[in-house]
Each structure stands twice: as C-alpha cells, then as structure tokens.
C-alpha cells in the first residue's frame, strides 16, 4: 500500500540526487578525512565540498563556521551546554521561551542542576515571542539567549532578526534552534544576527542522524566531544562522511528549489486548513496566520484524543502525528499547546500535519475524508462529546 506521508517533521524522503551521492560515497570507500596520506585526500575534499554547500544554504561568512553533528539534538545540546560551561565565570543566567523543543528544555534543566538560572519568556496566543520580553529578561549575568526560529508543533516563526539586534546590543550570545526552518524557509545567519544555529538534514530530504551547528567565528564554546581536532577543534570524532555528503547535496538542492517547494506546500497547507474548517466542527487551528512555516498545520480537534486518530488513519495508510500526552510517551499535555492557551483536553486532541514535495492535493482530500470518519467514530465514544452536545 502506498502510504500517504503527512508527517514530514519526523523525517523527509531522500531525493534521488541525495541517494545517488550517498550510494556513490559508499562504493567509493572514502578514507579518513584527517589522514595525512592519499587515502584521506579525497575524503577531505568531499567533506569540504559538503561544508561549502551547507555554508551557502545558511550564508555563513566562512565555511569553517559550519560544524557537522549527529543531528539537531546534538547541535542544540552543544550550543547551550557549550556556552554555559565556557561562560560560567561571566554569569549563569540564560533566557529562553516557553515553547522550545525538549532538547532545549532538558538541556536547560540539566544546567539548573548545576545552579544555572533560566528565565523563560511567554508567547502570545499565536505562539509569537515579543522581543521586548526578551530584552527585559536579559540581566547583567545573562550569558545566552536561546529562542527557536520556528516551532515544530505549531509552525510559528519567531522574530529572530529583531531579537538578534537586541542580543548584539547587550553583548549576549544568541542561539536559535532552526531545525524546522533550515532548508525549508530562507535562513541567513548574518541577517538574523545569531551566534549559534542548530539544524538537521532530515528536515529537507537529507539523511537522518546528521545535522549542523553554525558557530560564528570567535564564539567560545566548551566542546561536548573531546578527542581529535576535527571540525575546527569544535567537535571531535571521525566524521560521518556518507551522511555529510548526503546533507551537502540536500543543502544545494534546498537552496535551489526553496521557492518552488514553499509555493507547493503552502497550497497544500491552505487546502488542508480550508478543508478542515469545512468538514469538521469544533476545531481550533493553532499557530500564527502570517508568521508560520509553509508546510505545517496544527489542528486541535475537540472531545477526542490524538493517538486514536493516528491509529485509525494509519490503518488507511495515512501517516500523521499527534502531540497528545499518551502518544508522546509523556504524562502531561504539550507545553507548547498549553503556552498558547489550549485547554488540556483540546491539547490532547491535536494533530500536526507537515507536507512535503511529493504530497498532492488528492493526498489532502483522502486525509480529510479519513479524518472525518475517525473523528465521528471517536466522538461517538467520548464522554466529553456527549456532555457537549447535551446527553
């Protein structure tokens, strides 16, 4: 059965060019890029080429500002813990937002065990951070501001450039989790005034398990991985060259195809939202109507729980994602949804749909049809629905 994948935030398919490049790399049997002999030369060249491709995608001033990692989570951990440990004698205060990804939140929680303090700024009902709140939160002993570029649950895009101006002025380092943005929407690190930026290849048709951390020249960080001097002495360890080559090709394609992909997914997003409003009652579309990822829709469906929907749609060959507590393996509702004002019950019934280049309008139609059936079935079993319609 052909699966309709509407969960691209979890991972995107490798484009044929990326697949070819990676398979070629496998057959080539590259040596170690750090070797001093011929076997390492070609590997070093391939590594450098990939670095250039990524550097162009994010417009870093120097290629060596791009450090390859094992993915978004490692990049985020490295950025936050790396700055915290390096700047401990300057201060121990960090500013963040209420809707960050768990990699940010749990890294900060880990640092709190070492007596770091964290101020978390709220968001408006659309998920937007107010730069003034960030400015007000910065203290004399603040060493880092970390605010995500776009949110993986509701798609809201933050005013990073504005926040960057503030941090520049106040001389505080600024990290942004841009995992859902890089390769999907234009991200220019110089324009954004960020010092550190985390991103991952699997968000834009590159392989999983490889990502990048942009580290502005001159930014002092404690590396998480000590050992050799790879990645400009910022991240020890022999490189995942095959993955990196895939990431490089994906980056080049993303830069070239970006406008077309945005246009394509935006149409699907609009059709999806319209269809949801038409066919299903008692829903809430989450996120910002304007400052939002073009490929993501978050919808809270009242009176039912998300995992039930995912299972029913999965049976129909449609893959979607939910942020319900049960499905996330957590015991509480999504902090992101609670931050924008969703009630607990509505947060539990929230679906996240994310589109890719291979999705079509008919995919969206099939999804809407299957969703209506699933919602009707689950509502017929729901005590909340019974109460709402007066039972």
């Amino acid at each position: 059965m052909n699966i309709i994948n509407l969960d691209h935030i979890s991972g995107t398919p490798l484009t044929p060019e990326v697949q070819t490049a990676m398979v070629d790399a496998i057959h080539k049997n590259y040596g170690n890029p750090s070797s001093q002999h011929q076997l390492g030369d070609e590997a070093a060249e391939a590594l450098q080429k990939a670095r250039e491709q990524v550097s162009r995608l994010i417009n870093s001033k120097m290629e060596k500002e791009v450090v390859f990692t094992s993915g978004g989570t490692e990049s985020i951990n490295q950025a936050i813990k790396g700055v915290a440990l390096a700047k401990a004698d300057k201060g121990k205060h960090i500013v963040t937002s209420n809707i960050e990804h768990n990699a940010v939140l749990r890294s900060l929680r880990r640092l709190r065990m070492l007596e770091y303090q964290v101020t978390s700024v709220p968001v408006d009902p659309y998920g937007r951070v107010n730069p003034k709140d960030v400015a007000d939160a910065i203290q004399d002993d603040t060493i880092l501001v970390t605010i995500m570029h776009s949110n993986n649950e509701i798609g809201t895009v933050q005013p990073i450039e504005e926040i960057g101006k503030i941090t520049r002025e106040r001389k505080v380092l600024f990290h942004s989790d841009a995992v859902c943005s890089v390769g999907v929407v234009p991200v220019d690190v110089r324009k954004l005034n960020v010092d550190l930026l985390s991103f991952a290849a699997n968000q834009y048709n590159g392989p999983s398990g490889v990502g990048g951390l942009y580290i502005r020249q001159g930014t002092g960080l404690w590396p998480l991985l000590d050992g050799g001097v790879q990645e400009n002495n910022k991240r020890a360890g022999t490189e995942n060259l095959i993955g990196i080559i895939g990431m490089g090709v994906a980056s080049e394609l993303a830069a070239r195809e970006m406008d077309r992909r945005i246009e394509h997914t935006r149409k699907l997003k609009e059709a999806c939202i319209e269809g949801l409003k038409d066919r299903i009652d008692d829903i809430i579309i989450n996120g910002h109507p304007e400052f939002s990822l073009p490929n993501l829709v978050s919808v809270s469906i009242k009176y039912i729980e998300g995992e039930g929907i995912v299972l029913m749609l999965d049976e129909q060959g449609i893959a979607v994602s939910t942020r319900s507590a049960c499905a996330a393996g957590a015991l509480q509702a999504s902090h992101v949804l609670l931050s924008i004002g969703r009630e607990f019950a509505d947060a539990q019934g929230t679906l996240v749909l994310s589109f890719g280049a291979e999705n079509t309008e008919s995919d969206v139609d099939r999804f809407l049809e299957a969703l209506k059936t699933a919602v009707d079935t689950l509502r017929s079993m729901s005590p909340l629905y019974r109460k709402a319609v007066g039972g």
Partner: protein, 174 residues
Amino acid sequence: MYSQTVMDHFKSPRNVGEMKDADGVGEVGNPLCGDMMTLYIKVKDDRIDDVKFLTFGCGAAIAVSSMITEMAKGKTIEEAKKITNKSVADALEGLPKNKLHCSNLGADALHLAITDYEHKRDGKPARKAERVDRLEHDHDEHCYCPYCDADVTEDMEYCASCGKKVKGGDFPVI
C-alpha cells in the same frame, strides 16, 4: 506497539454507549493526562447484566474500556470486584510499559460503578458518581518512572535517572 488483541478492541470496541437508567456509574480520569472514562452498569440478581462505557483516551484506553466491559458482563458483583488492572492488561496480551496507567482507568471505573450501585442499593444517600483524579497516588502501589523504570518516590517531580517529568504539575515545564 500494541498487541493484536488491543488493536482488535480498539478497532471494534464492545459495549460503547451510555445508560440513562444505570444502576451504577463510575467516572474516572481527567484531561490532564489524556484519559477519561465513564462506565455504566445494570445489575440483576446480583449479577452485572449490562455494561456500557464512554472513553476519551488513546488506543490503549479504548481497548482497556472495551475489554473490561466484556470481562465484567455476566459476572456477579463479588466476581467483578476481583477484576484488577493487571487482569485487564493480561487479557489484552499486555500493554506497553508507558500505557499501563490506562489499565488503571478501566479497573477504577468499574469499582467506582460497583460502589455507586451498592450505595444506591443499600439506601445510602444518593451519591453523585465520583471522579477520581488519577494523578493521586495509591500509596501501596509501587512507583516507577514510566520511561526508564527506575524507582521514583512520591515527592519526585523529575526522575533522578533520566530527568523526565513524572508528575503532572505546574506549568511552565522548566
């Protein structure tokens, strides 16, 4: 993730519905952790003659609700009292570790419905079906982290082993 039996009960749940004239009603859960269940029983000659449920919850919660109504139907009150969350989970061929709390839902609702029936039968003052906040801990129960299985104590908000939040609590999360 789910056994065949769980998926069967999820896809074709037995005894869905409500009873306007139930002899006993048990309501459990809260949206905080994503599960709510209302269970209705009709009792004849000390036996559970009919049983219905409504559930707001994940696949495991729905399967548990369906299974427990099947297990309770036709049993005497005393037999039904012996149904535990473990027996429901076993009947379902097991549940993933992080879904075991869903099986508590079913057993709690059934026992509350029975208690409600007994109160009515014994002429005690009519008692509104009680909602149990499942975040309250049964102190005899063994507390463990649902993610890494390490022991957690009553007062722990975060598991000392893996750092994940194990108690519903105030927001924000940091």
